[in-house]
Amino acid sequence: MKYDVLNTRLPRVDARAKATGDARYTDDLSMPHMLYGAILHSPLAHAKILNIDTSEAKKLPGVKEIITAKEAGPIKFGVSPARYDETILCIDKVRYVGDEVAAVAAVDYETAQKALSLIRVDYEELPRYLNVFDAMKEGGVAIHDDHPNNISAEVHNEFGDIEKAFAECDIVKEGTFSNKKQDGAFLEPQACLANYDLNGNLTLYSSTQSVHYVQRTLAMVLNMPVGKVRVVKPYVGGGFGPKASANSMELICCLLSMRTGRPVKMCFSREEVFMHSRARHQFFHELKVGAKKDGTLVAVQNKCYLDGGAYSSFGIATVYYAGSLLTAPYKLPNYKYDGYRFYTNKPTSGAQRGHGSVVARACMEQLLDEIAEDIGMDPIELRLKNIMEKDDVTCNYFNMSSLGARECLEAVRDGSDWKSKKGTLPKGKGIGMAAAFYVSGAGYSIYRSETYHATAMVKLAEDGGTVDLYTASAEIGQGSDTTFTLIAAEALGLKYEDVHVHSGDTDFGIDLGAYSSRQTLMTGHAVKRAAEDLKRQILDVLAAEFQIPAGDMDIKDSYMVFKNGTPDFSGIRTKYIKEHRGWVDQPEGDRLTFREAARIVYLKKGVIVGGGAYKPDELGGTFKGAAVGTSPAYSCSAVVAEVTVDEQTGQITVDKLTDAHDCGFAINRTNVEGQMQGSVYMGLGETLFEEVKFDEKGKLLNPTLGEYRIPTMLDMPNVNTIIVESDEPNGPYGAKEVGEGAILPTIPAIVNAVYNAVGVRINELPVTAERVFMALKEKNEKGKE
């Protein structure tokens, strides 16, 4: 299929604004009479609040409002209604260093910060639990009263017969894998600007991935009708998951605006980003993988402890994803998963790129490599032997309506020259691989509802032949505004520049937002339907005008095309030119332009708006938790990594990466490559450098971008980026996800390459030089014994 604007390399619609500094992010916004807010954080990891004295702070000139839980109220919120466990400000206790205790609005940031230092809080310290093993011990103090054993959520699933299956295996490998809490480390810290106006309408501008979820949370917690709450997303400087849910700062900001009657702006310092971002959990996986001696995968058993931090956030979904996403892309008939998410007295963890499945995948791919080595099979051959194909269904009822997994594996094998390199590299150099799959949007919204997951409107301009596309979806840097502009342009038959996208505003409709890689597929469908609806309406009017069946007409490149010869449109042109007397760029030539045709449609109908909405079909099995992991489509990807390990220091250099990703269909090839490269990049960082550190009191040790290390331009090699297109039947134009999947095989590919280079299997992230060196030292010492 040849498309007019799809699958090309047209530049992004927002690139020029960003290249010139014109793009406005939330902290760039201001309003007249604006105040500045700041948050008082708990200095203790676990303590009762005995008393808060704001009297001295209130006296400070320039302070306009101070709030504590008394003003903020007791209404609980969170991400999943089954786990609403947060209040705007702490009521009776604090649960981590950073928990929000009070907030100030003042005439400038300096005054607000000074006011915070004048607030006196009396605490009674409680025992603190800074890791899952302490949190799970009997007899401790519950972090949340209604979870006496500090288990925030637990999952138990079994598919097939696991005991029988392992008994039938010729080879069984057991292993563990863990990481540390990791951070999204987006460049733009969260910020928000709230304005509660004189008519009692609340508008919040916020650096968010989901205006819809924030709007609902604001309305619920602030006890306002949804219709009086509007959330707008300006340009956002990256999200990666932590910006996908409402945060206390947004609620505080709105409350301060409501109480002062003035606009209030707030933003996080980089340290506060680390404190408040609900980023990647720490996972402790124990896996058992069983296979036949010919390499057929038979059974996997997975147990996981998640360190959830002080609250739930996305955690109930995370603990499911840590299990459910191992059942593909290899055929697996028997699978058992037991997952436990614990509360600890640390910043809360939530959803981050690859949500929940990242460390599970790393563990699995390392054990598959061990099996391959034991049975003398090439690792890629082992994967190919077990690979699923289109229309296969996993043991937990995920339907692979399209799956280019075989193609991805072959692509990275050939693209990296695997066959000539594997086994022939000199000592210290290694090559490794892995594969994975991921969802294209969660099958169910995070709150139980029959709501559409995305709605879209496309309005025909009254003059000029352009259209305006309205979607509440979130462009956070991944390119969704461009994706939807292209889809609408293609569906309508218009030039790319004739579609104007407006997004990220709850006034524009419903969209669940940018998370779980849902927007291209789900919002894309809604946009396509809206555009097709508009086109139908346009052609119906023109059919009556020309007395030609609508099916004999089409729009292409912003011109009208007719199957059986162009009708006489001189009347239309004359009328148009007469209406536009004085214009110099009058339409001419023997083709009827869309702007002339559109003008006629307006004159006949007045208001022409196309609407489209999407929600997935009922998906998944009927067992508890079946919903999580269901998706209308699944992507897949494979990575080959080549590394050099300096055995004298343990330092790893990733020399080359080859990444193949099945995105179904690339709406825009440059943007798909960019997402692949970005996701691989994040995988490299999380493998080699990234960890959030705490001291023994639960205080963050490295809340800076100097000590929380994301790779620099000197650390990241080029990626041989291979797009695989399997044409997803459930996706608009065959498209499915690309924003997250590539991170999953990157981590184990590097870890497997390190083993290939120097013979040590590291099963703890980050794989720092020190970790490698110590492992080598231990191996050498064992060798001497």
Partner: protein, 156 residues
């Protein structure tokens, strides 16, 4: 106590009253309304606040406005000529070097400065010169390609 400083920013002369503890980032954004310079971390770890000061790219979050008095500053707003983009900006736009855009002003300025001093950089020289500008979105590859493309365009 506020003091008056003189800044030349994007070829315009400004007289501004500033506090000693205001950084150049703050004065550009809050006093001169030049919002293209961003603050990502405030302590020189990320490069989002990059400006060109007296011909050198620096972290403006670690320059006091009073230290910059008398200096020639170039921000992202000074790179394009009206609507005519600089070749570095054109290349960034056309080659997909921009995703969320927050690092972009810093990247563009550092790259522009590099090409003015070294019109034919190798890939390694590009990466080294830009190793103080972090990006979390792109993985840097398309940024490097854009700088190479810009170098070629400027040459021809």
């Amino acid at each position: 106590m506020k003091r008056i400083i003189r800044l030349n920013v994007n070829d315009n002369d400004y007289e501004v009253a500033v506090q000693p503890n205001q950084t150049l980032t703050q004065v550009l954004r809050e006093e001169l309304n030049l919002l293209g310079t961003k603050e990502g971390c405030g302590i020189g770890d990320c490069g989002a606040c990059t400006v060109i000061m007296d011909g050198r790219p620096v972290n403006s979050c670690l320059v006091l406005a009073v230290q910059a008095s008398g200096s020639k500053i170039e921000t992202i707003e000074g790179v394009a000529q009206g609507h005519k983009l600089h070749p570095v900006q054109e290349a960034f736009v056309n080659l997909g070097a921009i995703q969320c855009g927050f690092c972009t002003p810093g990247m563009v300025l550092t790259a522009k400065n590099l090409l003015e001093n070294n019109p034919n950089p190798t890939e390694q020289e590009i990466r080294k010169a830009m190793s103080g500008n972090l990006c979390r979105c792109t993985g840097y590859q398309k940024i490097v390609e854009a700088v190479q493309e810009a170098a070629a365009q400027i040459k021809s």
